[in-house]
Subunit: 426 residues, 2 copies
Amino acid sequence: MPVNIPETSQPRVLIIGAGFAGLRLARKLYKHDFQIVLIDRNNYHQFQPLFYQVATSGLEPSSISFPLRKVFQKVKNVFIRVAEVKKINPQEKIIETSLGTAWYDYLVIASGATTNFFGVDSFEKNGIPMKSTSEALFLRNKLLENFETAVTLRDPDEIDRLLSIVVVGGGPTGVEVCGALAEMKKFVLPKDYPDLDFNLMTITLVEANEQLLHGMSREAGVKALEYLTSLGVKVKLNHKVKSYDGKEIELEDQENFQTRTLIWAAGVKGQMPDGISADNIVAGNRLKVDEFNRLEDFPEIFAIGDIAYTETKDYPKGHPQVAQVALQQAALLAKNLINIKNGNNLVPFQYRDKGSMATVGRNRAVVDLPGFKFSGFPAWLVWMFVHLMSIVGVKNRLVIFINWLWNYMTYDQSLRLIIRPKSKNT
Amino acid sequence: MPVNIPETSQPRVLIIGAGFAGLRLARKLYKHDFQIVLIDRNNYHQFQPLFYQVATSGLEPSSISFPLRKVFQKVKNVFIRVAEVKKINPQEKIIETSLGTAWYDYLVIASGATTNFFGVDSFEKNGIPMKSTSEALFLRNKLLENFETAVTLRDPDEIDRLLSIVVVGGGPTGVEVCGALAEMKKFVLPKDYPDLDFNLMTITLVEANEQLLHGMSREAGVKALEYLTSLGVKVKLNHKVKSYDGKEIELEDQENFQTRTLIWAAGVKGQMPDGISADNIVAGNRLKVDEFNRLEDFPEIFAIGDIAYTETKDYPKGHPQVAQVALQQAALLAKNLINIKNGNNLVPFQYRDKGSMATVGRNRAVVDLPGFKFSGFPAWLVWMFVHLMSIVGVKNRLVIFINWLWNYMTYDQSLRLIIRPKSKNT
């Protein structure tokens, strides 16, 4: 049964995913003469770079989530459908979703990336990922519940396990969550739980690589290590994790760790819908596309953002899976779809690296710009400014700014709430 | 097995519930020489009067919830335990909780009131209550999901049912939620869903009594009716509901309504822990106490707030179940516990009615003060000021104020997010 979308004379661009790539594309395209169908499993856009602040009680989920319908208020040619995409049928030019089928003239796969547990079941079962607002909220609840449980126990080993946190993966997410946890340990938790001994709390960051932030410069990695160490985080470089049973992490040829909380920030893989030929799928579950982000064999199917993979001279292993690539690919694809419609030539994608950055807590961040690296307080200010300006919605920006200012002045994140919507059979 | 609470020489006051009554008592008492154990099923205090704004996407749950541990930061003699109370054993002076047993010198039952479905299973099963942050969040998700579903359907009857909302109970909660829904219908929803016809959306308020806000003055009830009617809410006074199967509401001797959303705001009953003799329990599941809020037979057990019931000359059917009574009883009980400790006489409770109020939307509210009634814009300002000042936490106050200002200027509530923490076997 087809999804209820009006049939019009406009060519239909069906976009899967309302992340950085999908949302940007829809925004760039809706003023031109297309019918846009935007499908996402959530009714909101998520600002991924700040998930870690939701997980550590610094920001409310709503501050980094923006209702899609609000972005396209009063817009008549954008049709938002909250649904799971089940399968793509490129031959028939339709997709199957949890709401029914939908045809397309142009299909844009912007479904992004999800957590990669590298096939280890015990990590998938017991580790906590942080790739969505829901997961970040789950982690927040879990951390707070662990402290609440610890306070009621007498068994020192179990208290230890509840207070110990291990983060796997030393990319920006891993580094940033460790920094935030270390600051909670330092400034907030001992005041909240006067009857718990937070000297027992350990935060350990395990990274398989020989440096932190391996997508960034060597200097940034060294500086991040220095910051985290000064905050009391134990950083284990060149360490690989093997398994985790919910209590103990086994490392390859190394000491083991006891913990009730394993935060998994070690890798991503493309969220590939079914129905794509395996020939087009490369390492990391990414979709191989040409320099116009177009699928081989199906010139009306495109992939942009984290799921897209283009080999170029500058990026022989594909572009980095970061917001900037997604945004730039989306902007170009909007132009190219208009070019196709007008019978003009397509423009190939060329990534302009604007730099990358990560923060490790109060006054501490690292920034790599092309040809210029810096760290410390100025980097931290730049980090805040860039993130604040990238957030969708003026009110979100305002609320986040107030939260940051407040947290900065009071050394306190005040959202330490274990809240769940009541579960009920609807 | 006993809950892990240190044994000290201080007399132990065990408080069940951290609502208005329990939290106020703990705050008044902790500077005196008592050990205070505060038990709640949540790790936060909830500001009940604004649940309806969470349900209608106007405020974030965190804005009206305050972490208990933050209230008592660094306080050494307050022990917060997040637990369910299972049973009270007055003979042995212990209570049983989900964390184990706990003894007390003084027990204060401040467990409040919960939704009263008056024994009708179909309401309990299919109606949506609004007596906790979690329930309000559930309602918010449900309302938004219904609109998302409606947009995908073709069956006009089912679309009708999804867009129709029936609220049962014309007290402050019912009136306020109807006002907020009517404003969403007017200002927000048609912009969000250009492909839905919101002329089909109906909001119906069913009240068994002959006036709205029957705890308030006749004038307030008439004014609220006028406001709601002008906002397009259908108000059915003198109507009793009989059953609801999730699709259709049956009324006694009247027309039926088709709706997928029945909001139940029709009554409350005390949340009574097990173990209390039935002799002490009166209508509405309230606990009969004397003028010192003390249980008959057990002078070391007290009840305050919504669950307490005291017959006085002025209030022969007990005090109203409102925040003011809870706060005043808590403040007096703090004094009386100190009196008991010092061997002084107890002071009997005397309720000072400061008035009551309700809001029906932008610029519209009703206020009953002793000897003075008013409505309209001034009442609405007073309503906002009083509620803002009653919220725990300066930052909450600030964030709520910004939200209100923003919503007022933009005619928009921007929290239309269907967010759930990821469910995972923890």
